[in-house]
């Protein structure tokens, strides 16, 4: 009885819905006056936000410098291609590796901290990366960044598939997205993920029952920066360039706002919702007014004030209210589901 309710399905409903909804966008997106590139960008930000939430939602570790690793992924992909002639998969793998190494190094300096000190250190390292990207002209191209990054063909042995069109690249990115989404879902339900969550709740107790707290925090940071690097590499392909702005404090802040508005603190799916809301707001509201970020900022303030658990939190409490109103109470075991599942 107890053991069945706690199983994490391999492909839970929200995962299927998300992937299905994204997969269907080429069919209707242009009909409603939007464009395929938008869905691509939303998906890349979802990936970035999901990786960020592994750290914030599950580790309780606030990184305000995650743009750096997104950028490192983008630059690494660009440099590997422009200087090393790397193909698609080598480029992506290299980008992930570069972001992982950067995360591993920075993680050495921050993993004994949490809270405000952690946040400040991540900002400092993030600004460092941003500054280097803007000034190291010979490698990064300075303020202009790396231009003319190609979308290499996907070679499957017998056939080469061109990813030049936004549709084709979108489908490729969707496959990558779905795989990472599934892996992250497994990760948060694995012993590693569950112990990480326990460390978030009570670091001292976790140490006193024998968990190597520092190692978990370090690994969580590195995993999170790896996902950011992958998202950054896809972004470099999408934009066909890499530039310092993706490393800015701005961009690092955006991903935090996505995670929080979506409800990453209470739900695995929060970042998915948050990235969608953010990019849609940017594009739809941005079409009417230059000051869309002002309105988004006000929305953010309202959410933090009145619905600190974000959209996913509102959904969860609505469901809880519905369940409470029913005459027959739900199975008591329903409460056994981790709060992260819906």
């Amino acid at each position: 009885m107890l053991s069945t309710t706690r199983h994490a399905p391999i492909a839970p409903l929200p995962l299927l819905l998300t992937v299905a909804a994204l997969a269907s966008t080429p069919l209707w997106l242009s009909q409603v006056g939007l464009y395929q590139y938008l869905a691509l960008e939303i998906m890349i930000w979802m990936l970035f936000a999901l990786g960020h939430n592994l750290l914030l939602g599950y580790g309780g570790l606030p990184s305000f410098g995650h743009g750096a690793y997104f950028g490192i992924g983008a630059y690494a992909f660009g440099l590997l291609q422009l200087r090393g002639g790397a193909g698609l998969l080598t480029g992506l793998l290299g980008a992930v590796l570069a972001a992982a190494v950067a995360g591993a190094l920075v993680g050495l300096f921050i993993s004994h901290r949490r809270g405000i000190y952690y946040a400040l250190l991540t900002i400092a390292f993030g600004q460092l990366a941003w500054f280097v990207a803007g000034k190291w002209h010979t490698v990064t191209g300075g303020e202009d960044g790396l231009l003319n990054i190609k979308r290499p063909d996907l070679s499957l042995g017998v056939v080469d598939i061109s990813l030049k069109s936004n549709e084709a690249f979108f489908y490729f990115a969707l496959v990558v997205f779905a795989l990472v989404l599934m892996a992250l879902w497994r990760l948060v339900h694995s012993p590693f993920g569950r112990i990480l969550r326990a460390i978030k709740q009570n670091e001292m107790r976790a140490a006193f029952v024998g968990h190597p707290v520092w190692l978990y925090k370090w690994l969580a940071f590195m995993l999170s920066t790896s996902v950011a690097g992958l998202a950054g590499a896809l972004f470099a392909m999408a934009q066909q360039s890499a530039y310092p702005n993706v490393m800015s404090l701005h961009n690092s802040g955006f991903v935090v706002m996505m995670v929080l508005i979506g409800g990453g603190l209470v739900s695995f799916w929060g970042p998915v919702i948050g990235a969608l809301v953010f990019i849609l707001t940017r594009d739809l509201l941005g079409a009417y007014t230059e000051t869309w970020l002002l309105w988004y900022g006000l929305l953010f303030i309202l959410v933090v004030l009145f619905q600190p658990d974000g959209v996913a939190g509102a959904w969860q409490s609505w469901r809880a209210r519905c369940a409470a109103r029913k005459p027959t109470p739900p199975q008591p075991n329903a409460t056994l589901a981790t709060p992260k599942e819906t």
């Binding site: 001292m204 006193f208 029952v209 709060p339």
Partner: protein, 247 residues
């Protein structure tokens, strides 16, 4: 040789000396009590013994090994576990998961990022056994943060027990409990002491004198008296402090 020995521990915070010179030893399968007035350094002593603080001088040996200056994690892995006076639980986890996460079997697969912990049925069985021991089996599915005070006290011991310790430190396990709750904890500890070596800090003299094989009295950062409950009742130091009521 005793299972656990602390030799001339000294600890200061700034210019305040909290532990002057503490020498203690705990015998295998015995229940040792540590008592003393407020501010005597009992909890600091516990924190030094369990690795939360490193002593400025002195040494700690556990099972024949010098563990002075090791981290709480390293000490926990050697089979020493503790509960806390101010409760330290994983509040957003269920009662069952609080215990599950503390199991050595889960600790060993902590680097697994693919397996589903929800399908680790042997771990869940082990965790249920622990909950059963501390009387929380019926609350397995409740959130730890939503438990009553008494239940949280029991879970505090449960999490410490889950690590399958050789030596269990309990820091004021009855703090804040009424007579009924205290009696329940006493009953639990009486059962545990048959299998485990236990050290308890306690305010409640009646509780401690009923359970302990040996008691150390700490005052002014030193052990001022030690002996069996019977011996201590006649000790002038103890009588003059706050044990008069038991005489």
């Amino acid at each position: 040789m005793a299972l656990f020995e602390a030799h001339q521990l000294h600890k200061r915070f700034g210019d305040q000396v909290v532990l002057e010179s503490i020498t203690l030893s705990f015998e295998e399968k015995q229940l040792t009590g540590i008592m003393g007035p407020n501010g005597a350094g009992k909890t600091t002593c516990f924190n030094v013994l369990t690795g939360r603080y490193t002593p400025d001088r002195g040494s700690v040996r556990f099972a024949g090994e010098d563990i002075t200056g090791l981290s709480p994690r390293q000490i926990a892995r050697r089979g020493l576990s503790r509960s806390f006076q101010i409760m330290n639980l994983f509040d957003d986890e269920t009662t069952l998961d609080n215990v599950l996460i503390a199991l050595p079997a889960v600790r060993e697969q902590g680097m697994s990022m693919w397996r589903d912990l929800g399908r680790f049925s042997r771990g869940r069985e082990l965790a249920m056994t622990v909950l059963d021991r501390v009387g929380l089996a019926a609350k397995a599915g409740a959130m730890a943060g939503a438990l009553s005070y008494g239940e949280r006290r029991a879970l505090e011991i449960g999490v410490a027990l889950a690590t399958d310790p050789r030596l269990l430190f309990l820091d004021e396990p009855t703090a804040g409990l009424g007579a009924e709750g205290t009696a329940r904890v006493a009953e639990l500890i009486a059962q545990l002491k048959r299998e485990l070596t236990i050290v308890i800090i306690e305010h409640d003299m009646r509780f401690l004198f009923g359970l302990a094989d040996k008691i150390n009295v700490i005052h002014w950062g030193q052990v001022i008296a030690e002996g069996t409950p019977a011996q201590l009742r006649d000790n002038p130091w103890v009588q003059r402090s706050n044990l008069g009521m038991l005489a």
